[in-house]
């Protein structure tokens, strides 16, 4: 139980007045980001990251991770009240959340959503508390081939578990890797793919890509839909909260199942969006009220919200223990660690105990603070959505431009952001997934380094990736994932087609 001792120490780090204040600020900013179209977890954190360069790392990560929790909570508000998912992972919440709001039970739906979010996150944090140190200890023995195999598994999982065309996933990923290669080569010191441009020597910063792809791209998309917010009124009555809480224990099976689905999808880079859909689908199949799903069932809100939050939280486990983020937002946080001078990976648990356990402790407290904040301030955030889009849109673009500029104090980056915005819009419309591209851009250099180091030590012999049982099984698993679309097709041919009714509604992300 050494973890409990470390955790208590973590609580001691977190519970300074300054950090608690930052926690509240982070949650409120996060909910705001989750509610507004065009600002999401990933680019919200990316925009605010430069502001934290001068803070101590522990305070900075507390604030930024709280923004992430806030964004996870915030997505539910727009889904339930306005039938507009603020984030891709809250699409499944609209299926039963909005019908409930139409029936006048918005308060109950919101309470159920927030509470299940909290429960999902809580289960995931408990898992992180005990599993992350073990994984990190195990990973300390990893050499370059093992690390490269894990990177390979991460990227192949996108192909194996992603929705949509495997070719498009491969294109998005390789584009990310190619962009990451631009600039100075860390090993030989040669300039690569800069074509003589001094602006390109810096390389493509993934923060700029995230702000453009998710921020500007999202604004262009919502503009096309001609956004007009016509929502249901919501006030959360304490009595409704208590009543809903009394009802929730009945769905403990759904909560537990959804948490597990979420944790699994979060650790493997499946992500929160597929987790929420999978969990909704499972709940619909297994619940005795399954037939009534889609007409406003509390259980239909509980399932996706629990899973999305559990997945969003678990995505931080591989980021902390291995230095491999499970989601774009975790990737941005990882970028933050590098900027604050911390080397993410298994050594973090040995060298930066205060930081790691402070972060884990802040996950417990941050989610509790989040639950309290959202339950009390829903009307405020709902009224923000009634601000006309012609004010919100330019302000968000200004915020994105400022965010892009502050990364390197370079105007070129602001232009780049616009280009990434158009790419994001076109890619979203053509169902190219953005998450693998961002992750490839973040991990490109590190994946390349571990690949080159393994190749060096093995003198170019590819069998190094099967040189011991551990690395061999990870590599084999990765290749199975990569070929999974083909394997699945063969299985389907042999067995006859099976249709997935929710597949059409699930966004590619």
């Amino acid at each position: 139980m050494a973890e409990l001792g470390s955790l208590m120490q973590g609580f001691a780090v977190v519970l300074s007045p300054m950090n608690v204040l930052l926690m509240f600020v982070g949650i409120i900013l996060g909910v705001l980001i989750g509610v507004l179209p065009g600002l999401g977890g990933a680019n919200g954190v990316a925009i605010l990251l430069p502001l934290t360069f001068t803070m101590p790392p522990t305070s900075a990560i507390i604030m930024l991770s709280c923004i992430y929790w806030g964004a996870l909570f915030g997505g539910a508000i727009t889904s339930i009240l306005f039938n507009i998912p603020g984030e891709p992972w809250s699409v499944a919440t609209t299926f039963d959340g909005y019908p409930l709001a139409q029936k006048g039970q918005a308060g109950a739906a919101l309470t159920a959503a927030f509470t299940s979010s909290f429960i999902g996150a809580f289960v995931a944090v408990v898992m992180i508390t005990f599993l992350a140190p073990l994984v990190a200890k195990f990973a300390l023995k990893f050499g370059p081939p093992e690390f490269f195999a894990v990177y390979l598994l991460t990227f192949c999982s996108f192909v194996g578990m992603g929705k949509g065309s495997p070719l498009k996933i491969l294109v998005a990923m390789s584009l990310g890797f190619a962009l990451a290669a631009v600039g100075m080569d860390t090993v030989t010191g040669q300039l690569r793919l800069t074509f003589g441009s001094t602006e390109l020597m810096r390389g493509f910063d993934f923060l700029i890509a995230v702000i453009g792809l998710f921020g500007i791209g999202e604004i262009l998309l919502s503009m096309e839909e001609g956004l007009e917010f016509k929502g249901k009124q919501a006030r959360i009555d304490p009595r409704v909260v208590l009543q809903t809480w009394k009802e929730l224990p009945r769905y403990w099976m759904t909560s537990l199942r959804s948490s597990l689905v979420g944790i699994w999808m979060g650790i493997t880079p499946g992500g929160a969006t597929p987790a929420s859909f999978m969990s909704y689908g499972l709940a619909k199949k297994m619940s005795k009220d399954g037939a009534k799903f889609g007409t406003g069932q509390i259980e239909g809100v509980v399932a996706p919200e629990t899973a999305a939050h559990a997945a969003g939280t678990s995505a931080l486990l591989p980021m902390l223990a291995l230095g491999i983020p499970g989601s774009p937002t975790a990737a941005v946080l990882l970028g933050g660690l590098l900027i604050w001078g911390l080397q993410p990976g298994p050594l973090l648990f040995v060298e930066q105990k205060d930081f790691v356990w402070g972060l884990i402790a802040s996950m417990y407290l941050g989610n509790l603070v989040g639950l309290i904040v959202v339950l009390t301030t829903v009307p405020l955030f709902a009224s923000i959505l009634r601000i006309p889009f012609s004010i919100v849109a330019p302000v968000i673009i200004v915020i994105c431009a400022i965010g892009a500029y502050t990364v390197h104090s370079a105007m070129f980056d602001v232009w780049l952001m616009l280009v990434f915005g158009v790419i994001g819009y076109v890619f979203k419309k053509l169902d190219y997934p953005l998450a693998p591209m961002v992750l490839a851009l973040v991990l490109g250099d590190k994946a390349e380094d571990s690949f080159r180091q393994s190749m060096l030590s093995a003198q170019g012999d590819l069998t190094v990736f099967w040189s011991n049982p551990l690395v061999g099984s990870i590599t084999t698993l990765a290749l199975i994932m990569l070929l999974w679309p083909l394997i699945a097709k063969l299985i389907a041919l042999a067995r006859g087609p099976k249709d997935d009714e929710l597949a059409a509604q699930r966004p590619v992300d």
């Binding site: 294109v171 090993v187 604004i219 004010i391 602001v414 890619f427 053509l430 170019g460």
Partner: protein, 171 residues
């Protein structure tokens, strides 16, 4: 698609066209990356793999995958008549994109604060049909908040533009 044709719901850019175009661009990028990586040394050098080793294979994946998408798009040209974007939506999108480009251009000259205030105000007047006074107030207000936040609190200087019209503020 001359401007005189009456807009119908089926009017706009075809999905397969954009699909093929994007795949072709990525294919081109892949070829450029591959040749450039080859030039840098994509093979084994005296001291291990060359600088272009990894990017070269990445470029190969890019070329093969985008060629696959291109072939799929060209094949389904007849059967898939879905629209990428219809005319009305394209207009909406350009209504945001074009001012955004002009805004960044303005930032280049007059700096972030002034350009943002003008951009927000003009956006509100032209697209939101707000009054001038109201719009200018919001624009200047938002800019002022950012100024205080960045220059005063966080001490992160933002871009003041080539002409630096806000120099009189002393930041």
């Amino acid at each position: 698609m001359s401007p005189s044709t009456p807009p119908s719901p089926r009017d706009g850019i075809r999905n397969t066209t954009v699909e093929a175009l994007v795949a072709a661009i990525i294919l081109g990028l892949g070829l450029v990356t591959a040749t450039e990586s080859w030039r840098l040394g994509a093979r084994w050098t005296d001291d291990g793999p060359g600088a272009g080793y990894f990017p070269f294979y990445i470029a190969l994946v890019m070329i093969l995958a985008s060629a696959g998408i291109l072939i799929q798009a060209l094949r389904s040209r007849r059967s898939d008549t879905d629209l990428f974007v219809d005319r009305a939506s394209l207009r909406q999108v350009l209504q945001v994109l074009v001012p955004a480009v002009l805004y960044v251009l303005a930032v280049q000259f007059v700096g972030i604060y002034l350009a943002s205030a003008l951009y927000i105000a003009l956006f509100m007047v032209l697209l939101g049909r707000f009054g001038w006074v109201h719009s200018l107030a919001v624009g200047l207000g938002v800019s002022a908040v950012f100024f205080v936040m960045f220059e005063v609190w966080f001490k992160v200087p933002l871009f003041k533009g080539a002409l630096n019209p806000t120099a009189f503020l002393g930041y």
